[in-house]
């Protein structure tokens, strides 16, 4: 490497005469910088490719007929009808319902693990909860298909219908495959995301603030309310947004239990479909306007998940900087899953 550069070096003929700084140092560092920067640029490129590809494949559907595409309820590829509403509805409703259900449990786990659990239990229990995230989506889906859905059909949904049947969402035939099954599976899958980020946020609350409350005779729950939650508020909100992003993008398990019907029904038992599942089910067989419509749904899904992720990260940064002049406890490098 160094010898190659000395060929066109004007000072090269006199090199043996005058001792000079070795050129090798510079070349090595230039290569080092170029190679690593190239890898970094590839990361940007990979993201850009996703955006550009979906944008190109969407054929400007959004620009051409944005409102009518987004607002239309009919999806019938055979007759050329492409409305995004059923999928937007399915994605948003299942994700929000799943997150709403998962948040209290996830916060409960996070609080238990940071505040109440005996020390010997914290490591193993935390690991166990994080294992929930390690089980592949398709395995949850498999379990959903063979265990959860049949149970919902024969036991869960009839029970809900007889207990809460006066509510429209618990009316209708107990199908099993449908929104409720999807919500339960998504909730289970976002639980570890929300709880592990919340746990990190809670344990970053400065010890000085905790001790300040305890020194005034606060019980643990009073300390949580007075200083821990106010300090961790935006970080916890970030955890929820991150979980919502995960929920929206969840594909395999959902497609296996949701019934995959492009309908908007009042009943939680009814089959539905989401942006992610319709892409998984139809993308490789689609062409023309159908493909454009699917790519547009992909673009919408991308925009939603990216927005949620960025917002979550901004909130996480705010937790670290605002709230108190005190340094956060355990300032360790955050390894978000």
């Amino acid at each position: 490497m160094a010898t190659a550069s000395s060929n066109d070096d004007p000072a090269a003929p006199g090199a043996e005469a005058a001792p000079r700084f070795d050129r090798e140092v510079n070349v090595g560092d230039i290569v080092f910088r170029a190679v690593t920067a190239f890898a970094g640029v590839l990361v940007i490129l990979a993201l850009a490719l996703v955006v550009v590809d979906l944008g190109a494949a969407s054929g400007r559907t959004l620009v051409r007929d944005g409102a009518s595409f987004l607002g239309a309820r009919a999806w019938d590829p055979v007759h050329g009808l492409f409305g995004a509403l059923p999928f937007l509805y399915g994605s948003v409703v299942t994700s929000i319902a799943a997150v709403v259900g998962a948040v209290p449990i996830a916060f409960g786990i996070a609080v238990y693990l940071t505040e109440y659990a005996p020390l010997w239990l914290r490591g193993p229990l935390g690991f166990l909860v994080e294992l929930l995230a390690a089980v592949p989506s398709v395995v949850y889906g498999f379990w959903g298909v063979l265990v959860l859905v049949p149970w919902l059909r024969t036991t869960g949904e009839p029970a809900l219908a007889s207990a809460l049947g006066f509510l429209p969402i618990f009316q209708g035939p107990p199908v099993g495959n449908g929104m409720l099954a999807a919500v339960l599976i998504i909730g289970l899958m976002v639980l570890p995301t929300i709880s592990s980020v919340s746990r990190e946020v809670l344990s970053a609350v400065p010890l000085a603030l905790r001790e300040g409350a305890q020194a005034l005779g606060a019980t643990r729950s009073e300390m949580l309310r007075a200083v821990v939650f106010p300090y961790a508020r935006s970080g916890l909100a970030g955890a929820v947004l991150l979980g919502t992003g995960r929920a929206l993008g969840e594909t395999m398990a959902v497609t296996m239990v949701i019934g995959n019907r492009p309908t908007i029904a009042a009943s939680a038992f009814a089959p539905a479909s989401t942006m992610a599942t319709v892409i998984a089910n139809q993308y490789d067989e689609a062409s023309g306007a159908h493909l454009e419509a699917l790519a547009t749904l992909g673009l919408l899904l991308l925009a939603l998940t990216v927005a949620l992720n960025v917002a979550a990260r901004l909130l996480a940064v705010r937790t670290r900087t605002a709230g108190s002049a005190l340094p956060p406890r355990a300032p360790r490098a955050s390894l978000l899953p």
Binding site: L209, E211, Q214, A215, G217, A218, V227, S324
Partner: protein, 260 residues
């Protein structure tokens, strides 16, 4: 190095007997016995890592929530062992307040910071709260500076004001003992002077144990001083005695600046 005798006059407010603290394998406080009298300021001095802060924190059980800490021996408050099995640390801390090295106001308004201890103790009446908050802030010599902005965040105050806010917060619940862990170490000389003045004033109504890294400060504000070294209480005596004719060689070496 002989142990100082346990001094236990009848009017001792708090008394530690044979108190040891262990962090895992490390003995941080070793068999310390001493008493804190009513209406006195008792200072603890010693090189850093000598156990004086750890000892102070045992007096309101602040070490309880730290991983792997074991406390042996007993601490009595008005003759009652605060480490007895049926005693809740929450109730101990209600009577034995604490001010920390770094000011730690809650992310709340000035008023709510001071009112917090009262609120959790069950005071709901707005009038009583306002009255007690004003009294505590006045006691902490902060009232005049903040009376027009009680609704602003406590985090907007200067360092010295924040520390006085934390003192006011501790005083609001009318504790019988106040523990102070190097309360002025992060402050400028003017703010330090204010805090010291305040401590001398507070002595009229309660007992104070203070850890300080400044011997001058100990000499200025305390009636008695204890010298800690390597987890042991080497010597405890009237402050003037400690600083003029200490009994122990180690104490003398420390005050004359030969180590530490």
């Amino acid at each position: 190095m002989k142990h100082p005798p346990i001094d236990a006059p009848a009017d001792a407010k708090m008394r530690a007997v044979g108190l040891s603290v262990q962090y895992g394998e490390k003995v941080a406080v070793n068999e310390v016995s001493l008493s804190l009298l009513s209406n006195e300021v008792l200072a603890f001095i010693g090189p850093s890592g000598c156990g004086k802060s750890t000892f102070l924190r045992t007096l309101n059980r602040m070490n309880d929530s730290i991983e792997g800490v074991k406390v042996k021996g007993s601490v009595e408050l008005d003759g009652e062992d605060i480490y007895a099995a049926d005693v809740d640390p929450v109730l101990v801390r209600r009577r034995v307040g604490m001010v920390f090295q770094k000011s730690n106001p809650f992310p709340k308004s000035i008023f709510e910071n001071v009112a917090y201890g009262l609120r959790i103790a069950g005071v709901r009446d707005r009038g009583i709260l306002a009255e007690k908050v004003e009294r505590a802030l006045t006691q902490a010599a902060l009232w005049d500076e903040v009376k027009d902005r009680l609704d602003e965040s406590g985090l907007g105050l200067s360092g010295g004001q924040q520390q006085r806010l934390c003192i006011a917060r501790a005083l609001a619940v009318e504790p019988e003992v106040l523990l102070m862990d190097e309360p002025a170490s992060a402050l400028d000389p003017i703010a330090t002077a204010k805090i010291e003045e305040l401590i001398s004033e507070l002595r009229k109504t309660l007992s104070i144990a203070i850890v300080t890294h400044s011997m001058q400060q100990a000499a200025r504000i305390s009636q008695r001083t204890g010298f800690f070294y390597m987890g042991k209480l080497v010597e405890l005596d009237d402050t003037t005695t400690i600083f003029t004719k200490p009994n122990e060689r180690a104490t003398e070496d420390y005050i004359t600046g030969r180590f530490g």
